[in-house]
Amino acid sequence: MKSIASILIISAGLMAQLACSSSSGETAQTSRPANSKKIGVLLVNHGSRSATWRQALLALEENVKDSLVGYGKIHGTKTAFMEYNEPSIATRLKEFDAEGYTDVIIVPIFLTVSSHSFDDIPTIIGKKEDPQSLETLKIEKIERYTPQAATQIAPLLDFSGMLKENILRRALQLSKEPQKEGLVMIAYGDATYMKEWSALLHDVGAYVKQHSAIDAYSFGWCGHVAHYNPDSTTVAIKRVFTQKEKALVVPVLVAHDEMFQVKIIGDGIAKTGKRQQDVAYVADSILPDKNIERWVIRIAREHADKLVNNSQAQLP
């Protein structure tokens, strides 16, 4: 009986300790030389439980690092995961501060506008206080941190137009008889920005039509907006089957995540029943793509140029 009482007391003590613990408020203080810029580039991605997914994003940084640092105006690069994994955005910004960076260029590796890119990232870095983001970040234990370094957020991937080329290339790799085939794009989606996501995929579909003999397309969702359900994939494939004999399924997802490319999209294809033999599918992703690496390099350099030029213009 004493032992039970001890366990209960320990449990209560543990809870009391939790109640008394305060959140860590790390603030790195570093001296900055006057009128000198130390610029860093932070590649921010969504984050995933999939190690394959994370590796693709780490490889992206690895592939652009030398070109960015070798440029002379950028002093360091880092990658941060917005959700699920460390290093988080806050962790990385603290590191930049501790290393004395004056400016951090944040390059979001996100396809198009979403609550993450438009509200969550700016809220995490202290540039916005979106009420829903604030509450969600708290629940998901995503730390907010306003860095001492000035931050700039670069535009999203869809601004570059390279997504069209990426999807065209991957569709053509799957294609055998383009006249008989239709393209099915499966993307994450976003309930708030459905209009923008749909416009993006219509744009990409139209581009594929224009630059190949694949003249039919449809799209579906696999993210939160579809409740991570394969049905949207199945519906999109069936829509193409009303016009074409075969479907080329291309995931419009940044990197490979087993849950999305294998489970959700794979199940969606399986649900077409006997017609799955008419589906061509490779569980690939937008990355790796040399064009995206070139875009990251270009966009980061452009921002660094502006920062340095502005800084020089302000010199007495």
């Binding site: 039970i4 209960l8 920005y193």
Partner: protein, 190 residues
Amino acid sequence: MSKKLSGRIRRLNIITHRDAGYFFSSLIIIYSLSGIALNHVDEWNPDFIIEKKEIQVPSGYLTNQLTPELITEFSKRAGEEKFKVYDIPSENRVKIYYDNASLFIDLQTGEGLYEKIKRRPVFYQSNVLHRNSLKGWKWVSDIFGGFLIIISITGLFVLKGKNGITGRGKWFIVAGFLLPIIALILHELS
């Protein structure tokens, strides 16, 4: 086993079941409530009450015509006197931020969606614990999980006789065990 030892084990079992049950009763209720709430996450928002209101503002503005005065004017239509900041997510759309609320306007059509967020009482707090959103809570959660197993096992041996585990109890145990087994068989067959 001597009768004396058997009696002591039985007494320890009952005490463990009773006291652990008392101690964890609140957590059992909290986790059960939250479990039901989170089960239906696709049908409702278990954490927040989001009050939505559709408003109409004059249409046809371009994003480069937006001024703080115009944003204040839009805000008043949603019942907000002061805005914190506004931002443009895409062509023809603006989002205005307030304390615990936001207003999304399609400038082309003038249609606006005002959303005010409030924590759902009881459920929000239950979900924070259930999802381990509190730093370090997973250890409490692990201990709680361990004790649930202990409470269940000790519960099997509280009663003796025709209502105990050797009596009708065994049939209830089998029936309860069949439920997940049937579900898993159906899952494998599907």
